[in-house]
């Protein structure tokens, strides 16, 4: 199984606001960050929580500046995010899924 992203890659998080469970917090949606490392492969909670088949999927530590997330602050926030939540940045067209 190959990963779509590597350390140092710039990524854009999904802007979707699903009705079901997800592990992409609201405060980190539609934000641009940098991949720190691969954390492992785990089934996507969005699918597991709905009883759908969920094959293991890459999870990355992704770092964001506070200014990007909150419009203020000089710190960084690192989240662990499933590959499904991420698009390459800059990508083709508008990622709003």
């Amino acid at each position: 199984m190959t990963e779509r992203f590597r350390a140092g890659d710039r990524v854009l998080t999904s802007r979707a606001d699903p009705l079901h469970h997800t592990r992409l917090p609201r405060y980190a949606r539609g934000a641009t960050g940098t991949v720190v490392e691969l954390e492992g492969r785990y089934p996507l909670p969005d699918d597991r929580s709905r009883g759908l088949p969920a094959a293991p999927e890459a999870v990355y530590a992704v770092r964001f500046s506070a200014a990007e997330l909150f419009g203020a602050g000089d710190h960084q926030v690192t989240l662990a995010l499933w590959e499904s939540y991420l698009r390459p940045f800059p990508g083709r067209g508008q990622a709003n899924e």
Partner: protein, 198 residues
Amino acid sequence: MSDHHGGPGHGLAARVRHVEALLEQRGLIDSGELDRALEAYLTRASPANGARLVARAWLDEGFRSRLLADANAALPELGLSMGGGMQEQRLKVVANTEATHNVIVCTLCSCYPIALLGPSPTWYKSESYRSRVVRDPRGVLGEFGFAPGPDVEIVVWDSTAESRYLVLPRRPAGTGELGEAELAALVTRNGLIGVAAV
């Protein structure tokens, strides 16, 4: 967990009891086995484990490197694990440096390296800590009486997936003469979460 009628925990607790009863009926576990496993796990789970890791890392550069590169592989060197008889979780140890200070949170619930820190403190699970530390870490650290210098960059780690994080504090100045047990005694639970220097 609430057992009040209609409370959110009522249905879940009943389901857990039902599954446990089925496992016992089918001979997959002995009566009381789950309770004993949980008790044994929580008896071993203590911040003293995290403190031992830190003291060893301060004294042994090789161990420090292995701990930061692959914490799960390094834990057995001290007889520790992230499983404790239950499912092993990935551990990521993040080291404070002169330039960077790390802080741990779980904004979505209250994920925490229980095997190495014991049950989490109430404030760690509070909405106040979880919602504010990602937005204003210096403000929250100030409430703990801790003020990293203005040149130090704060990095917050939000445990949104399957990894658990642990902070490796910086070794305090003037501790060159101390042995491993004495160094471990300096390390606090708050230091391992990142809301204190050590």
